[in-house]
């Protein structure tokens, strides 16, 4: 068998450590051991490392896709030295079983969990988790981010086609991991209004819940079970599970039903740190109130406080911190200055009121749809000489050098809003004068017709005329979501693009395509592009992340009547990577990392 031959070759070759020259390196995590590209212990049968599943043919198959054990340096090195010492030459040698058992005895340790709680929503939990993941990665630990329950409109598709919150994919990169997965964010809530959310479980749609049903039915039932299972799974694979809480852990009205904060921390047996944003003032009150409202038996799990986002001198805050330690009996392990970093936008309250961002020359107007989603698509534009204006009134489109219709949680309803508000007319009137791009739902709107005969997208069956900018028809024919990562090229220039699709409606496109997407099953074309009228449409979220399309699209904009002058655009991922490093530097400098690790290990 092919795999056995590969393992045999690996056994002969000897220990090689990281194969940085390999085209796929690192396929799991930075610094991984590649001695065994294929595991010599397969199928190990250890339920902590994999599980038995049924194949399409109905056979029992050992599945261990997410196992990292053999790629740990000490494991790869030990396995190889044992194989050499015992003179094992065939992967079928029964003595491999013994090698596996002693490797497990020596090196397998369930990981430890650390919970990062925030006193408020925008306390800085996400960046703290990202910084801690990077710091642990720098120290050679295998760490993973985890947020049991995230409420976010910004999601991203993992390599395996699961939909999780955008921020966990960033934290995963911070931990040096190559493949974010659904275990990192098993429950994702996508708000559909003030009180109803679509609940996604393990990266796939699960159902719509109102606040009461969510806390009354989902949380005590499937929610708690899912959190327990995913935590156990992650602890079996990583040295540290760096957990992020949601909102405040001291919402005493729902305390017993909260599986995002102390509930998850208890399941994981996590040491907890509390992050407080100092920027708005009242941080000492928030810290004391949060700790003291948590029931006494849980309170003792909180073992450190981080005062975050201090602008100006930290001296005043440090003076207060000493007093805070005395009052709470919990050490302040970090006083972190404000760091200007470039990370994907969060669904902060700030976004609701945001009218523009950036101060660049090119004025890019984004139609601020009432149900706007995936607005992290726009983030790379902030690196350019661009001002992004979020326009809620069609009059605001005046003076735009380019227009973007972004993604939406509900295309049909937002299209109706486009008509009522006068946007439909205003955007159509500007076609041919400035470049117009529709992304996902925005792209669907630019077509000629939208049909939802079963009421899958909307609440009831409906049919609507689109803006008619593209010769395209979109139909929601079955309750099925297309969730996939895409990689390909911009047809006009042949330069690389990447992104991900998350949508339910499917489109029949008759205009020339924008991209060629590479797939295992063969290449496909994607999007629409009409050069003469400067019309662009695509299903790809993250379409601006790679520089090629960003540069191409902006080249059609003419700020002040002339071409947009700008430096060669950067890859968005590089900018994120650099930001994570700067963030981690700031935390390493201003936080007691050893104390943090002791808290995670439960040693304090």
């Amino acid at each position: 068998m092919d795999v056995e031959k590969r393992v045999e070759a690996e056994m002969k070759r000897g220990w090689i450590g990281s194969r940085t020259k390999c085209k796929y390196h690192p396929c799991h995590f930075k610094g991984q051991d590649c001695t065994f590209c294929f595991c010599p212990f397969y199928p190990c049968g250890d339920p902590r490392l994999g599980r038995e599943i049924e194949s399409k043919k109905g056979e029992k198959v050992w599945e261990c896709t997410f196992c990292l054990f053999i790629h740990r340096r000490e494991v790869g090195m030990f396995a190889m030295s044992e194989i050499k010492r015992l003179g094992i030459e065939s992967p079928r040698d029964p003595r491999l079983r013994g090698v596996f058992q002693s490797a497990v005895e020596r090196f397998f340790r369930p990981g430890k969990a650390l919970m990062v709680l925030g006193a408020t929503s925008d306390a800085g939990k996400s960046v703290t988790v990202a910084a801690i993941c990077r710091i642990l990665h720098r120290r050679g630990y295998l760490a993973t981010p985890f947020k049991s329950q995230n409420m976010s409109l910004n999601s991203k598709v993992t390599p395996k086609g699961s939909e999780i919150a955008m921020i966990q994919t960033v934290q995963s990169a911070a931990a040096g991991l190559k493949n974010p997965d659904q275990f990192m964010n098993p429950i994702l809530l996508k708000p559909k209004g003030d009180t109803v959310s679509q609940v996604m479980v393990m990266g796939a749609p699960f159902g719509d819940y109102g606040v009461e049903e969510y806390y009354g039915e989902f949380v005590p039932g499937p929610g708690t079970r899912i959190v327990g299972e995913t935590l156990r799974f992650l602890k079996d694979r990583y040295d540290f599970v760096v957990m992020e809480g949601a909102g405040s852990p001291a919402e005493i009205n729902i305390y017993d039903r909260d599986i995002a904060n102390m509930g998850a921390a208890k399941i994981a047996g996590a040491g907890c740190v509390l992050v407080v944003n100092v920027e708005w003032g009242g941080s000492f009150a928030y810290a004391v109130g949060t700790v003291m409202l948590i029931p006494e038996e849980d309170r003792k799990m909180i073992k450190g406080v981080i005062l975050n986002n201090v602008r100006g001198s930290t001296a005043g805050v440090r003076a207060g911190a000493a007093e805070l330690e005395r009052i709470l009996g919990i050490p302040v392990i970090g006083v972190i200055p404000h760091v200007d970093v470039f990370l994907p936008s969060e669904d902060s309250e700030a976004f609701r009121g945001m009218t523009s961002r950036g101060t660049g020359r090119t004025q890019v107007s984004v139609v601020k749809l009432p149900r706007i989603a995936n607005f992290t698509d726009l983030d790379p534009l902030y690196m350019e000489d661009v001002t992004v204006r979020f326009v809620s009134d069609p009059k605001g489109l005046e003076g735009s050098d380019a227009i973007i219709i972004p993604g939406t949680k509900n295309t049909i309803d937002d299209l109706a809003w486009m008509r009522e508000s006068g946007f439909a007319e205003a955007v159509s009137a500007m076609a041919g004068k400035v470049p117009i791009l529709g992304i996902c739902g925005g792209y669907q709107m630019m077509g000629a017709a939208l049909r939802d005969p079963q009421g899958i997208e909307g609440r009831s069956p409906s049919e609507a005329a689109g803006l008619g900018l593209f010769d395209m028809e979109t139909e929601w024919s079955e309750y099925k979501k297309k969730v996939i990562q895409d990689r390909g090229v911009l047809l006009e220039t042949g330069e690389p693009v990447s992104g991900y699709e998350i949508h339910m409606g499917l489109s029949e496109v008759r205009d020339p395509p924008l991209f060629r997407i590479e797939r295992y099953s063969g290449d496909e074309t994607e999007g629409s592009f009409i050069r003469e009228r400067m019309l662009f449409g695509t299903y790809l979220h993250g379409v601006f992340d790679k520089p090629a399309f960003r540069k191409f699209f902006l080249s059609f904009a003419e700020p002040g009547g002339g071409p947009a002058a700008r430096a060669e655009p950067r890859d968005f991922d590089d900018a994120i990577e650099e930001s994570i490093d700067r963030l981690a530097d700031a935390f390493e400098e201003n936080m007691d990392v050893d104390a943090l690790i002791r808290i995670a290990e439960g040693g304090e």
């Binding site: 003030d194 005493i252 009205n253 729902i254 009150a285 109130g289 005043g316």
Partner: protein
């Protein structure tokens, strides 16, 4: 007759709530005046008598149906960059302060009390606090919050912002950190900027009442108002002087007041606290 609205953090909504309460008393026929002992703000207003005060107090004065005056904001700190802050006392420039040369706390407190006394001689005084009252490193020389409670026994109401979450913690923590001798002056609390069905908050609200003895005065729904925010953090609503802006603001405050009344804000409770 006075009342002090304290925020659990900057931007909790004290300025708006105070303006709304001014309006409520004005509509009831009271002679009412706004007051903020010490204001940190970049947005200032020059009164007809030529005194410089915080913009927020000017708006609150209009909501009270009177012209702004210097006594409404006896001390104003205007950040001028480079860590320097200009001090305006009694409406006139009074030098600069910085980390190395902090303001003379006793002098500012004295000015504040004198202004408060002058105002309260003829008005119900609706006071607004500044920032959080319990910044552990600053509270020993607090003027606008604990300062006024200590010097003039002004009864206080906490305004907690629930938009970012953690409102119960903020309210409880603020109460816990308030010095014991002043705790009896913390009479009640308001939860501001709530979205959704307030029923879900009930358990938490009861618990805060039990723990602190403060009275729950109501939940205010989320509202985006055109209003000059007080603190130096938020971008200013611009220069709204001139009659049309003022009218627009008054219209907003009236609308907010009606919204507060219909969402069940306990005005009778507030009146009991303020003594009006």
């Amino acid at each position: 007759m006075s009342i002090l609205f304290l925020g659990t953090a900057s931007g909790a909504g004290k300025t708006t709530v105070a303006a709304m309460y001014c309006r409520h008393l004005y509509r009831k026929g009271a002679r009412v005046a706004p007051f903020k002992a010490l204001n940190l703000s970049l947005n200032s207003f020059v009164t007809p008598e030529g005194k410089e005060i915080g913009m927020g107090q000017a708006f609150q004065a209009w909501a009270s149906g009177i012209e702004p005056s210097g006594d409404m904001n006896p001390a104003l700190l205007k950040p001028s960059g480079n860590g320097k802050i200009q001090l305006v006392l009694g409406g006139a420039p009074a030098g600069e302060t910085s980390r190395d040369s902090p303001m003379d706390f006793r002098r500012v407190m004295g000015e504040a009390c004198a202004a408060f006394d002058r105002l309260s001689a003829g008005h119900a005084v609706v006071c607004e606090g500044s920032g959080s009252p319990v910044e552990l490193n600053l509270m020993h020389r607090d003027v606008a919050n604990l300062g006024m409670m200590r010097e003039r026994s002004v009864p206080a109401v906490l305004v907690g912002d629930i938009e970012r979450g953690g409102a119960f913690a903020a309210l409880y923590g603020t109460w816990l950190l308030t010095p014991d001798d002043l705790k009896p002056l913390l009479k009640g609390f308001i939860i501001n900027r709530f979205r959704g069905d307030a029923k879900i908050l009930e358990g938490g609200i009861r618990r805060i009442e039990e723990l602190t003895g403060m009275r729950f005065l109501g939940v205010l729904p989320y509202a985006r108002l055109k209003f000059p925010e007080e603190d130096s953090l938020s971008d200013s609503g611009g220069d709204l002087r001139g009659s049309s802006a003022m009218e627009a603001f008054i219209g907003n405050i009236d609308a907010l007041l009606e919204m507060a009344e219909s969402s069940g804000l306990d005005f009778a409770g507030l009146d009991e606290i303020s003594g009006y």
